[in-house]
Symmetry: C2
Subunit: 338 residues, 2 copies
C-alpha cells in the first residue's frame, strides 16, 4: 500500500468532493481518476486515510469527505497553483484603477474577490499604525473645539475633535501646525506620539499644551480597536445553493458581524508571510467551524499594511481562491503604491 497513492487518493477525494459536493465513494473515484487500481484497493487506502484522520464518513453507508486535517494536508502539500487567466488579470487591474478614492479602492477590491471566488470577501483598511503620515490638519470648529484631521500616505483620513481651553489665533495655529508636520514628516503614525513629545519640548505655554493635546488624541486614536476597519462584500454568496451553509447561515453571519473578533483572527494571520489559510476549527471561531479563511497582505513594496481575503466553506476550491486573493492583493498594492 504505497504512501504516494494514498496521497493521490486524498487529492482525488478533495477535488471530487469540492466539485460535486457529494461524499465520494471508491467506485466513482476509480472511474474519474486514473488511479490504476480497483475500488477494493481504494477502499483499503480510504480506511487507512480515515484511521489517520484525513477523511470521514458522514453516515455508515455513504462515501468519504475530507476532514479539516485532510484539507490542511491538501493545501500544504497537494494543491497545485491555478493561475488566473490574463483577461481576468486585466479585468482586476482595470477595475481597481478606476477607483476614485481609498473607500472606493477597498470597496472594489471586495467586490472583485466576492465575484471571482463566489464567496465572501473581507478587506482590511490600511492600518493606521503602519501607515505614514501625509498631513495633519488642525481646524477650529465652533467655540472651543479643534478638529484634528489625520491624512495617511495610503489615503486614509481620520478625524477627531479635541476641546481646548482657549482657541488659539490663526498665527499660533499655523505655527503649531507647521511644527507638528515637520516633526511628523516621514514617520509612521505609531511613532508620532514620541515625535510630538520631542517637538513640544522646545515649546512653552499654550503651544505646548496644544501639541501635547494633539499627541494625546493621536495616541488615543491608534489605541482604539476601531482604528482597524474592515469591509465585507458578497455576503449574499453565503446563501447560494451548494454553499453548505444554507441551513446554518446564522452563526456564519454572526461571526462576520463580530468585526472585533474577525479582526483578531486577521491579525493572527497577518503574522504569517504569503498567503495564509485557516481551515474550519483552525479559525478558533465557533461560527466559522464550517468555514475557511484565506488571506494575504497588501501594501506598497512588499510592506504588509493590511489584509485582503476570502471566506467560504471548508469545502472551497483552495487553489482558485488562493490565486484570486493573491492576484487582487498584488494589484491592490500597485494601485495604492506611489
Amino acid at each position: 500500500m504505497s504512501e504516494e497513492r494514498r496521497l493521490e487518493v486524498l487529492r482525488a477525494i478533495v477535488e471530487d468532493y469540492v466539485s460535486t459536493r457529494e461524499p465520494v465513494g471508491s467506485r466513482v473515484l476509480t472511474e474519474r481518476h486514473r488511479l490504476g487500481v480497483s475500488p477494493a484497493t481504494i477502499r483499503n487506502d480510504m480506511a487507512a486515510l480515515e484511521d489517520e484522520g484525513y477523511i470521514a464518513q458522514p453516515h455508515t453507508s455513504a462515501g468519504r469527505i475530507p476532514t479539516d486535517k485532510g484539507y490542511r494536508l491538501f493545501v500544504d502539500r497537494l494543491a497545485q497553483a491555478k493561475p488566473l487567466s490574463s483577461p481576468q488579470r486585466r479585468a482586476i487591474e482595470r477595475f481597481l484603477s478606476e477607483a476614485v478614492d481609498l473607500d472606493d479602492v477597498i470597496a472594489r477590491a471586495g467586490r472583485l474577490i466576492a465575484q471571482l471566488t463566489g464567496q465572501v470577501a473581507v478587506v482590511q483598511y490600511p492600518s493606521l499604525r503602519r501607515s505614514g503620515l501625509r498631513h495633519l490638519e488642525l481646524v477650529p470648529v465652533g467655540g472651543r473645539r479643534l478638529l484634528v484631521v489625520i491624512i495617511t500616505d495610503t489615503g486614509r483620513v481620520e478625524q477627531r475633535t479635541i476641546d481646548v481651553t482657549a482657541l488659539p489665533d490663526e498665527a499660533t495655529l499655523a505655527e503649531v501646525r507647521a511644527r507638528i508636520n515637520v516633526a511628523a514628516s516621514g514617520r509612521r503614525l505609531a511613532q508620532l506620539p514620541g515625535a510630538f513629545a520631542e517637538a513640544s519640548a522646545s515649546l512653552t505655554g499654550a503651544d505646548r499644551d496644544l501639541v501635547q493635546a494633539v499627541a494625546a488624541i493621536v495616541a488615543e486614536t491608534l489605541a482604539q480597536e476601531s482604528e482597524e476597519r474592515l469591509v465585507l462584500a458578497g455576503a449574499a454568496n453565503l446563501a447560494r445553493a451548494g454553499m453548505r451553509f444554507e441551513h446554518a447561515l446564522r452563526p456564519v453571519l454572526e461571526a462576520l458581524e463580530e468585526q472585533v473578533v474577525l479582526l483578531g483572527l486577521l491579525t493572527e494571520m497577518a503574522a504569517e508571510s504569503g498567503v495564509s489559510v485557516r481551515i474550519g476549527h483552525e479559525t478558533q471561531l465557533a461560527g466559522l467551524v464550517d468555514a475557511s479563511v484565506v488571506t494575504t497582505g497588501y501594501g506598497a513594496d512588499g510592506d504588509t499594511i493590511a489584509l485582503v481575503g476570502s471566506i467560504g466553506p471548508t469545502r472551497m476550491d483552495y487553489p482558485a481562491t488562493i490565486a484570486t486573493v493573491r492576484a487582487v492583493a498584488r494589484y491592490l498594492s500597485r494601485v495604492l503604491g506611489p
Copy 2:
C-alpha cells in the same frame, strides 16, 4: 356585518399573525380577542376581507394571513403607537453619546436599531449635498498633486486629489484657501460650485485656475452616486428562526448588497415626511417582496439630512419598529446637532 368589526378582525389577524407566525383561523381569533361574536360570524367577515384583498389563505384548509394591502391598512389606520420604555430611551441616548466620531455614531445607530428591532438596520450617512461646509483644506502632496479635504458640519470628511500644472507656493495656497473658505462659509455643499464661480471672478491666472479646479472636483464629488453612503447592521438577524426568510435568504441579501438600488428606494422615501413605510411589493425591489422597510429622517432642527431605518419581513411588528426607528432618529439628530 359591521364595518367596524371587520376592521377589528383585520387588526386581530395582523397582531396574531405577527406574534405567532402562523396563519390564524376563526376559532383562535374568538378565543384570543374579545370580539363578542362566534367563529361563524368571524368567518363571514373573513370572507369579506378576503374578497377585498386584505387577507389571503396560504392553503385551502389553513387560516388567513394579511396581504401587503392588509398590512398597509393596518399601518395607516389601525396601528397604535407602542412607545419605548424610558430605560430603553436612556440606553439609546447613552450608547449614541459615547461615540467618538461620525463613523462611530452611524455604526452605533445601526447596532441599536438592529438589536432593538431584531431586524436589519440601515443608516444613511449625512448627505454631502445637504450638509454645510465646515472647512475646506488644500494640502500639497507629492509633486504636482493637491489633496482637497472637505469637512462638513455633520463631521463627514471627504477627500479627492487634483492634478495641477504647477504646485502653488505656500502663500498662494493660503490666499486661495482663505478665499475659498470665506466664499463657502455657511453654505450648503450643493451651493459651493456656484459660490466658487463668484469667488474666482475677481481672480486671475493661476489662482483662478486653482479655484476653478477645486470647484470642479467638489461638483464631481457631489455628482457621484457614491457620495451617498450607507451602512447596514444586523444582517445575521435575517437568518433567525421565524424570520420568514430562512429559505429564501439569497434575494434579500442580494438586494441589501445592491446599495445603489437601495439608495434609490431610500431617496424616494425621504420625500415623505415623518416615518415612511414601504410594504412588500411597494418597495419595487424584487428581492424585497417579502420585506418591509421603515425609515425616517434625522438631522439637526428637523432638517432631514439622511435616513435611518429598519428592514424586516412584511410580517414585522410595525408599531414597535416605527417607534424604535423614530426614537433612534431623534437621538441621532440630537447627537449630531450643535
